[in-house]
Subunit: 406 residues, 2 copies
């Protein structure tokens, strides 16, 4: 008998009525003869409320205790959902992180799953129970509660699906799939039927925000087919699968954009070993996540170095680099918040040359200046002026043949 | 170095400001050189909110899942308190039921503590940590979360104090001690300096409501000195101790009353073996708690049988006994909600005759009719008409020499 893992996000369990709907969806799958394991998030908004509560105590709450606090969110919904299923006369049982043996490292607040000791889940499933696992939480080697970071329930779901060798991991969310571009920006965006893990990895980090990126890495490693779909309709969503799974191979699968970045440039940095470390160590120590880094060679033993950080970290990063610039005797520090990152993503790129050139040409035709460029095997990203972001997405979407048919 | 166990009730941790005050009290004790283990309740009102949530799902929520839900209440305050102590630069750590190894039976919703595997608490205490234990919750032999019933945190505290061989178990609550009578009813009631476990056992079940009765049994068994005191003042409260602890031995220590009972009488019950079982089995199966039972012999092979149940269970019990009466061919079923139980309690009674006679005389002098009588070694209880309850408490309080000096 097949095992289906279903993960429901916070907006799907926001109150008892929603939980009842989730229960109906689960029992429908169960009644079709499948074994079902459910991973559940906290009710939408609850995690933020708990963080607010902790912030009333102190600006920097102890991370171990914050995890103990946050774990109550998923515990609450897991209990309520199992209760709902029992009230519908289905055999159901909730398991918390430690009961489901979700073993993690001890990086409180951002722990990584090391392994799932799926003994108890497996036994319960074999007895035809619907197992409801509290997502987002695990336990470290000392028996402390850990949490997996924002979106961590996705990773719980994929990891449990992998350990159970489930047929599929369904991620129920408030969008109905993954699109070729943000439909709010590009009216001609199409829902993608199937996308590869690698493309998804590149899209998630670019702001697609549908799946926690770590869960996609897990899915790729253990080859777990993931189906991202809406909790509110019966429509098929997007399959995230191995790229050999006979999916349509477009050169470019999607155009993404991210307006949440800001740019910082250090001018005339002495071109010596150790300088880059001096620039980025204090940034990392402040917990600021750097996205793109570009360094241009320049004359006379100096170089310019540019990188991007999230807009919210811009002022802090600028202040840090002001001090660094003095220390390393760079000429100046400049910053710009009015930028956006536009990317084209596609596994087909690996076999096609000229995608980058085509992208630059399309942008040039619209008089959009490219400020920075960064590429991976299956992605090309350009930093442009923020005001051109939507225009760039639309023209690239059309030029790479992604527009839906009218 | 001595170990002090402190338990804080829901009204002491109702918000972050209150939690901060609790933290100050804890650190004061710690700074005096004591090792401190804290047992914490859910914020006042939270447990009821969680029950309401479950009742939105179904009228009779699965007990295992209800316990998973309810356990979040104490988990939240334990995390917040440990966080507060850490923010004050004290070494602190929260432990949940399973982490503190509070092993219970598997009676969900009303589990009994079997033992405390205090290894981890002891290690943490030895390293001078302030350990904050989530009260009210434990874990059964299968790793399921259990809860200990209303007031269960008291029992957690006493059980942990016993296992650690603590010097004292302080119960911080919203009253400043145990009184010789309810001060709202009897203005002359005095705070009791010291009271024996046995007296407390008799008082708790009679509605003194300051300590969960099970915790007192635990304290007696392991001889744990318990100090019941206010979380809001520095005043000494009431010590609950072994009766040999040199406490003042009054004949009567307190007068209690309970207006939450209702009476049910089955008239002309056939006086045959097995009849009592037929009367009380369906009541027990409905989860209704019977308090007093009185049976009077009557002529011609029949007897009258009277018992009391909580007022909220009155209608249900009456309906059940209507059916039973038909089955066992009793003549009639009568009920009365307008009753009260008034009791005098005191270990001194064991050595003094005439306490019962004195009590009946005092009530008779006020023309208070006694409906039922029940006695234990150190307690005499009378059921009287509800309207006389306050008067009875006052006259008994005076007559047994309990009034405070003016």
């Amino acid at each position: 008998m097949g095992i289906i893992v279903q993960k429901y996000g916070g907006t799907s369990v926001v109150d008892i009525d929603h939980i009842r709907n989730v229960a109906k969806r689960i029992t429908k799958t169960y009644d079709q003869g499948n074994n079902v394991v459910v991973i559940i998030s906290a009710m939408a908004g609850v995690t933020d409320e708990l963080i607010d509560m902790a912030m009333q105590v102190t600006d920097s709450p102890e991370k171990r205790e914050l995890d103990v606090l946050l774990a109550t969110g998923e515990q609450t919904t897991a209990a309520l959902l199992a209760m709902t299923l029992k009230a519908m006369n289905y055999p159901a049982m909730s398991l918390l992180g430690y009961q489901a043996e979700v073993h993690t490292d001890c990086a409180f607040g951002n722990a990584r799953i090391l392994d799932i000791g799926a003994g108890r889940i497996k036994d319960l499933v074999d007895e035809r129970n619907i197992v409801v696992v509290a997502g987002f939480q695990g336990i470290d080697e000392n028996g402390n509660i850990t949490t997996l970071g924002r979106g961590g329930s996705d990773t719980t779901a994929v990891a449990i699906a992998a350990s159970l060798k489930a047929d599929i991991c369904e991620i129920y969310t408030d969008v109905d799939g993954i699109y070729t571009a943000d439909p709010n920006v590009c009216k001609k965006a199409r829902k993608i039927v199937a996308i590869s893990y690698d493309e998804m990895l590149n899209m998630a980090s670019l702001g697609a925000k549908v799946l926690q990126i770590r869960s996609v890495g897990f899915a790729k490693k253990y080859n777990v087919p993931v189906h991202v779909r809406s909790a509110f309709t019966e429509e098929e969503g997007t399959m995230v699968v191995n790229e050999d799974s006979g999916m349509e191979r477009l050169v470019v699968s999607a155009v993404t954009h991210d307006k949440n970045q800001a740019r910082i440039t250090l001018k005339k940095v002495p071109d010596q070993p150790g300088v880059a470390a001096k620039i980025f160590t204090p940034i990392a120590e402040s917990g600021i996540v750097v996205d793109m880094i570009v360094q241009n060679t320049r004359a006379e033993g100096h170089t310019d170095l540019t990188f991007t950080v999230p807009k919210v970290s811009f002022e802090a990063a600028l202040e840090i680099e002001g001090r660094v610039a003095e220390e390393i005797e760079a000429e100046d520090v400049l910053g710009d918040k009015n930028i956006a990152k536009v990317s084209v993503v596609g596994v087909g790129m690996k076999d096609h040359s000229g995608v980058a050139a085509k992208m630059f040409n399309i942008l040039a035709r619209e008089n959009i200046n490219i400020i920075m460029i960064s590429t991976s095997e299956i992605r090309i990203s350009c930093i442009i002026e923020e005001k051109y972001a939507e225009l760039a997405v639309r023209v690239l979407h059309t030029a790479f043949g992604l527009d839906k048919e009218e």
